[in-house]
């Protein structure tokens, strides 16, 4: 057995060495297929299949508030709500609350912004994480004054502290306050993403009172008791909500609910569908590649049919012949797998670069042992897939051919098989082309959406003023004013502004009242997004003013409250266009009234593919904040000079998350761009392989029919007649492929529906266009060998026998 395998291997290597062109074509096609599959698999594996580094992660759920009627989804919880869940829920073994933020690490050469999550001590036990070094914090430290301890993530420990074990007990200056490092987490643990360190969540007592029930800013995580299903937990949450509604009139007439999502759902979100779709699509590419190689093998086998007959005549059984052919296939697949692995290494990096930060768990994506196993398995599977059918076909030796001189392998079965493979290739290529066409149209539709602002030419960055030195709002306002004055005086700067949240930067809703209006029974007002902006902010974004005026320098802290609202809000409450001059009051009845001074067109601040929502833009000077985002519209790159001005004002205030606004917009549609790009790439590769496939089959058919062509021409056929004959043969295959492909595409398109924007899954133009494109390519691919057929010399052809 081993001896046979050894001989088969030696012989296979020798015969393959003798056909470098064939080997190159086959290995390249396989490497493309295997490499692309391995690259996409490594992403799927990292994002979807690798379990997070928590104990029994399937028991972790995220809790959020929902008020669908008002358009509030996945809203955080308030401190009183967190306490209620802790005491009322029966399905959790532990719960934890946290809020994401950032702290600036100073006391070193350059200040560093660190992602800081303030969490209850229970976060670590809920996640099921034990520290790699030191300890996590305790409930006793969830008290103001005792809360100056931090736990570092492994990554932060390595990047900022050179993995120094003596970091435990070290004091860090964070936002001007001293914190002690008490622990370091194990590798990979950073939940929520972008967390560098954890500190105790220690709100002052006044922020934990019942009056704070409507102040929802806490994210909440729960660990289900063993054996509790998500459905059972949801039922329990319905019970809890009913108790809360009964106890607290603030929840009104109902409509609020508690939503539970598995942690995996929360982290991976919408990307799951996209990634599985891409893995399916790239699987199609591999099938096309396998078909191509199978076709090459069949063509090659036809030239070796005599050898097969000789071997069979000498006593080789069919199994032995199949084994011989399969050995060659597996060697090709192995070579394709090795080259594919190299391509996958490069492709995985390229994919991560392409998707940027829009891919959750991107840090988990790597070519690990599972990816290697997948590549190995793929290579083996493809070797069998493309090798088995040709091997079975070829091993059907015409034994008496060994006795005939000049016998050619023109088995009708092989010809049909090759034609069938071409039809399959065309069909698969069409499915991929339809997918690519739909995603391309969807992406173009998104790119052409009027987002209500002009992102091009705007640089953005985040600022965080240290709480110790900028506690008073006057100091914050003074800092904002001076910073904007300095930046606006820089050469090349057109305008600059500050806001609490940039477009696509997140959601923040506030309850409000309208002067002279009360909610009717059962009336629901939409949730309204709350933004604070400096005077020039909306101008910097080039938002369009429809009524009234923009905020300006007059709207300072001493002036009467002023706000801009967007068109959606204006249309909802004042459909007759009389919003300007109306007065609003945020939540607290003791708060002052704010006058609507202007209406701007909607800005799509929650996603290019998301409809605009009602929004209000309050004057920053009247609602100052220590955590802000800067937007600078400039002709040239001004990042360095902006950062220099910032350093000149306060060297402990770094600008972080610096990015052109256009990139933020692009990243918000990153997964759609990835889909369009990859589907385009997959479809392109498949199209080329399908074209080569049909061209190869027709070329082979022409070579086989050379004598027939000669006879036809000798009998008076014009070159045009021969051309039509050959083209007809090719286009029949293409037509069949297109037909099968269209049926397949219609079946699969509905799966894409939820991933498309601005185009239906059955867009007729895409289907027709793709069918025309594929037919055109097939026509060209057939025309090349057909042209050769017209040049057959009848005399040579007649002598060919």
């Amino acid at each position: 057995m081993l001896s046979s395998l050894n001989q088969d291997m030696r012989y296979a290597l020798r015969t393959l060495r003798g056909s470098p062109g064939f080997v190159l074509a086959a290995v390249l096609a396989l490497a493309l297929g295997i490499g692309a599959n391995s690259a996409v698999f490594s992403v799927v594996n990292g994002v979807l299949l690798t379990p997070p580094p928590f104990r029994e992660p399937e028991r972790l759920v995220h809790l959020s508030n929902d008020f669908a009627k008002a358009g509030i989804r996945l809203a955080p919880v308030s401190m009183p709500e967190y306490r209620d869940h802790q005491s009322l829920a029966r399905v959790f073994s532990s719960v934890a609350a946290y809020v994401q933020g950032d702290l600036t690490l100073t006391g070193r050469d350059t200040p560093v912004r660190l992602g800081a999550t303030s969490s209850t001590a229970s976060l670590f036990s809920t996640l099921g994480v034990t520290p790699a070094l030191g300890r996590t914090f305790t409930e006793a430290e969830e008290v103001p004054g005792r809360d100056k301890v931090v736990v570092l993530t492994q990554k932060a420990w390595r990047v900022y502290f050179a993995a120094d074990p003596a970091v435990l007990g070290r004091s860090l200056l964070l936002d001007g306050e001293s914190y002690t490092v008490v622990g370091v987490l194990p590798p990979g643990v950073a939940y929520p993403a972008d967390t560098d360190l954890y500190r105790p969540f220690a709100p002052p007592p006044e922020q934990t009172t019942e009056a704070q029930r409507g102040e929802r800013y806490l994210s909440m995580l729960g660990r289900l008791k063993p054996g509790v299903t998500l459905e059972a937990a949801r039922q329990d949450m319905t019970r809890v909500m009913a108790l809360m509604v009964a106890d607290h009139p603030k929840y009104g007439n109902g409509g609020w609910s508690i939503q539970l999502r598995s942690l995996e759902d929360l982290v991976v979100g919408d990307v799951r569908g996209t990634l599985w779709m891409l893995l399916g699509a790239v699987g199609f590419v591999l099938l096309v590649a396998c078909s191509s190689v199978a076709n090459l093998l069949l063509a090659r086998a036809a030239t070796r049919s005599r050898e097969v007959s000789i071997r069979a005549a000498l006593g080789a059984g069919r199994g032995r012949l199949v084994a011989q052919f399969l050995t060659e296939s597996l060697l090709l697949a192995a070579a394709g797998g090795v080259l594919g692995l190299l391509l996958a290494m490069w492709g995985t990096d390229a994919l991560l670069t392409l998707v940027g930060e829009s891919l959750p768990r991107a840090a988990e994506v790597k070519l690990d042992r599972w990816s290697l196993l997948f590549t190995g398995g793929m290579s083996l599977l493809t070797g069998l897939l493309f090798g088995l059918v040709p091997a079975l076909q070829s091993s059907r030796a015409d034994l008496s051919a060994a006795m005939r001189q000049g016998a050619k392998g023109t088995a009708e079965g092989a010809v049909k098989l090759r034609s069938g493979l071409v039809v399959a290739q065309m069909a698969l290529a069409l499915v991929l082309l339809v997918g690519a066409g739909l995603f391309a149209k969807s992406f173009l539709a998104l790119r052409s959406v009027d987002v209500g602002f002009t992102p091009e030419g705007v640089l953005t960055g985040q600022l965080s003023l240290p709480a110790t030195r900028y506690k008073e709002s006057e100091r914050q306002v003074a800092f904002h004013r001076e910073l904007l004055e300095r930046i606006q005086s820089l050469p090349g700067v057109e305008s600059a502004g500050l806001t609490n949240i940039l477009p696509l930067g997140g959601r923040l809703t506030r309850g409000f009242e309208i002067e002279g209006r009360t909610k009717g029974p059962g009336e629901v007002w939409p949730a309204v997004q709350f933004r604070t902006v400096s005077p020039d902010y909306l101008h910097t974004l080039r938002a369009t003013l429809r009524e009234g005026r923009m905020l300006d320098a007059r709207d300072d802290a001493a002036a009467p409250g002023a706000a801009i609202i967007n068109k959606s809000l204006a249309d909802f409450f004042w459909p007759r266009g009389d919003a300007v001059g109306k007065r609003l009051r945020l939540g607290n009845p003791a708060a002052a009234w704010t006058t609507v001074v202007g209406v701007v067109d909607d800005l799509r601040e929650w996603g290019v593919d998301q409809p605009a929502r009602p929004a209000m833009y309050y004057a920053l000077a009247q609602f100052p904040s220590a955590d802000l985002a800067l937007a600078v519209r400039a002709k040239d790159s001004v990042r360095a000079s902006v950062e220099a001005e910032l350093r000149a004002m306060d060297r402990d205030v770094p600008m972080f998350a610096v990015s052109p606004l256009s990139r933020l917009v692009d990243e918000s549609i990153g997964s759609r761009r990835l889909s369009a790009l990859l589907m385009g790439l997959f479809a392109g590769v498949s199209l080329v392989l399908a074209a080569l496939g049909i061209s190869g089959v027709i070329a082979y058919a022409v070579a086989q029919r050379t004598r027939e062509m000669g006879i036809r021409m000798a009998l008076g056929a014009e070159p045009g007649d021969v051309l039509r004959l050959v083209l007809g043969q090719g286009m029949r295959l293409a037509g069949l492929g297109v037909g099968v492909g269209l049926v397949l595409s219609l079946g699969l398109a509905r799966l894409l529906g939820s991933m498309l924007y601005g185009v239906t899954a059955y867009d007729p133009w895409t289907f027709v266009g793709v069918a025309a494109l594929l037919s055109g390519v097939a026509l060209f691919a057939t025309w090349l060998p057909a042209r050769r057929a017209t040049r057959v010399d009848p005399i040579i052809a007649l002598r060919a026998e």
Partner: protein, 255 residues
Amino acid sequence: MMTTTNDSVPAQESEGAVLAGGPKVEAGKALIQLEGLTKVFETEEVETHALSNIHLTVRQNEWVAIVGPSGSGKSTLLAVLGLLDTATRGAYLLDGRSVLDLSSSDRALVRNRHIGFIFQSFNLIGDLTVFENVELPLTYRGMPAAERKQRVERALERVGMAHRARHMPGQLSGGQQQRVAVARAVAGDPIILLADEPTGNLDSKNGEAVMQLLGELHKAGATICMVTHDPAHARVATRTVSLFDGRVVQDEQRR
């Protein structure tokens, strides 16, 4: 002399083995027995009788030349004898065992163990060395490497090609290639050699050399069935079977 095909032809006595070391066969024993063998090729419209009601017995150490004009069924008969093709009707006993209804894999086994082929166009595999070509049927037999080596070397020495063992077929002349093909045919000690126009692709000098080689094998005890067009080569054989339109029309025992 004209004989009916039912007549049994006396066979020359021999020591038993075709070649030294081969399976022992009883002297004069009937190796091939065909009874009413018929081969019909059917297409949608035409039924062609390539072989019709053939009765033929070949005994051990006979050298049978099968002759006849083109289309007479010579090659078809040889293909059926070699289990490369199957008969439509009739009986075929090889060494006393019916082989007509064997499965494909059993036929491959019989070909490998009991039959040696020599083809007109040599049919050496171009990607294998001379040694590997001769070794090939032994490999299919699952023979241990050491024994294979011994047998291949012995076979190549018999045909005078041992010095070319590492050459590729493309580096040999036609005559040399056919000698290698003969070595391949005898390396497995078959009970019968089937040769299809073994000199057809050779010039006269090389053709004579191959016939001489076959003669030596016959003298050593080999049983040979040889299709040939050449009357001179047919005369070298001990018996000539003439075919015409798929029927045996003459069966001439010479010695």
